[in-house]
Amino acid sequence: MNYSEIKPPSIANRIYSVWFRHYRVYIKNIFSNGFPPFVEPLIFLLGMGLGLGRYLSKVDNMPYIQYLATGLPLASAMFTSAFECTIGTFIRIEFQKAYDGMLTGPVTINNLFTGEIIWCGTKGAFYSSAVLTVFILCNTLELTPGLILIPAVGFIVGVMVSPLSLLFTSFVKTINTLNFFLTGLITPMFMFSGIIFPVSNLPAWIQWIIEVFPLVHAVNLVHALSAGSFKTRLIFDIIYCIAFTAVVSYIAIKRMEKRIMY
């Protein structure tokens, strides 16, 4: 028999298998896993709406609570993706040996992490939809057609933050080191990406630094979607999201290959 003729599954099948593995493990505990994206926004609404919101009137020509509700779905997408690809990935490498299991099947490191990044996008879409739904049900958002695209932007955020997190995790030897990333980069990204307050009033040099954050570009997108006003700068935002994902994914997967395929 000539074995060189055999055909392993297609690349789409390989990536899907990895995605499916993550999906299956996630929905096994859907109630505990689904709790945060539905309950966190309620807590935020109570705290911000009843508490802080009283002291603020309007931000960018909309009620503060509405401003906040537009951006928060993306914060949720960012956090879930960041945790998945830092703590989650680290546990899969060091403790569960989950990648060792998957890599015995016909998948490459490239397939493995592409599947994982797309899974983070899926989680980002799910989390942002959940948060969005809660805000709509609580009547905090003015219903505009653009809102329907927020989960799509949630997907993009999940996909952008995932390789960034993988890149950091690829250097990490002990799990506590991940705090430098989560507290040192993800928390400031949450604070300074235009979700809590508009960045346009910050000093110019800070704004330049913020432009590097992937999240701020996605936030620009949802604010435009929700308001239905589109500026040419959005094209730059979209290009930035794509370029950031491509470049960081490439480096992160190379790094992961070095870490795992020893």
Binding site: P8, S10, R21, R24, V25, K97, T104, G105, T108
Partner: protein, 316 residues
């Protein structure tokens, strides 16, 4: 003549230490061939390079790409067509890596997707494998409720999901009780009967003796001996061993004075005595109290000790 499924020529794997210039040769110029439908074993202590050698075969790590070194699996090169080789092979890694929260059947379902099995094909195959591995009753149990032996059997079932032509097992029975080990050995013999080529590593000499047609003994990355377990013993080792339990080396002369040719090992204290003649050792044993000796056939463990001066199960 049966074809060679695996052909390894002068395989080398060097690990570079990130913090120093030193590098470690985990596998050093190892060559061997594995015939179709045979069972081939790597025997050696921890750190001998068994796992590294196997990982090079199942495309988990890349060998050092040297000019005169080559690995061919089903006529394919792991460095060039890893996907095809992985598609043809089933792998049981040293550490179980099942998804703890999922059930037995869910673990198998997830894994079947990697090989492009349809839901229907997978479900039939899963029932068949659970039956073969005697896990049908545990089909719906979460992994965390399984014993070590069950987990191991499940990982073997998982490796067989796509009907591989080659099964690679890295220390399949380490840490399992004797009963489970015998079950697993029987399953491996069944698989061999069905024409599957088996490659396994172990540091149990009885395991190698029980199921391997051919073995290589490895130590510190190098191959030290190759052959059938029987011949290796016959050619390199006396037939019988008298293990002394109380008598010290310096008291030996009182016992062996006139009993002819006995080899005394110079490693253990109390030492072991070796001879091809059972009666020679029997005469010595008769001078000892019951419980002060153990007279038995020699095994691969003794051979390994003789060759390397160290025990197989010793941690390095």
């Amino acid at each position: 003549m049966r074809m060679n499924v695996i052909s390894v020529k002068k395989a080398v794997k060097t690990y570079r230490n990130e913090n120093s210039a030193a590098s470690i040769r985990a596998v050093d110029n190892v060559s061997f061939d594995v015939e179709e439908a045979s069972c081939f074993g790597f025997l050696g202590p921890n750190g001998a390079g068994k796992s590294t050698m196997m990982k090079m075969i199942y495309c988990r790590i890349e060998r050092d790409l040297l000019l005169n070194s080559d690995i061919s699996i089903f006529g394919l090169d792991p460095a060039k067509t890893p996907l095809k080789i992985k598609y043809l092979s089933g792998v049981v890694p040293q550490e179980d890596n099942l998804d703890e929260e999922l059930s037995v059947v869910q673990n198998l379902q997830i894994y079947s997707k990697f090989f492009g099995l349809t839901k229907k094909d997978a479900s039939g195959r899963i029932d068949e494998l659970l039956d073969f591995m005697e896990l049908t009753e545990k089909k719906k149990s979460p992994i965390r409720n399984l014993s070590g032996g069950m987990r191991r059997r499940l990982v073997i079932a998982r490796a067989l999901i796509h009907n591989p032509r080659l099964l690679i097992l890295d220390e399949p029975t380490t840490g399992l009780d004797p009963q489970v080990r015998h079950t697993i050995w029987q399953k491996l013999r069944d698989l061999k009967e069905k024409g599957i080529t088996i490659l396994l590593s172990t540091h149990y000499m009885d395991e190698a003796f029980q199921i391997c047609d051919n073995i290589i003994i490895m130590d510190k990355g190098k191959k030290i001996l190759e052959g059938t377990p029987k011949n290796l013993l016959k050619d390199n080792m006396e037939k019988y061993v008298l293990e002394l339990i109380k008598v010290k080396r310096n008291e030996l002369h009182q016992f062996i004075g006139d009993t002819g040719k006995v080899r005394v090992d110079d490693l253990r204290e109390p030492p072991n005595l070796f001879s091809d003649n059972f009666d020679t050792l029997r005469i010595i044993a008769d001078k000892l109290e019951d419980g002060e000796y153990y007279l038995r056939r020699s095994n691969l463990e003794d051979l390994f000790m003789k060759l390397t001066g160290r025990s197989l199960n010793e941690l390095q």
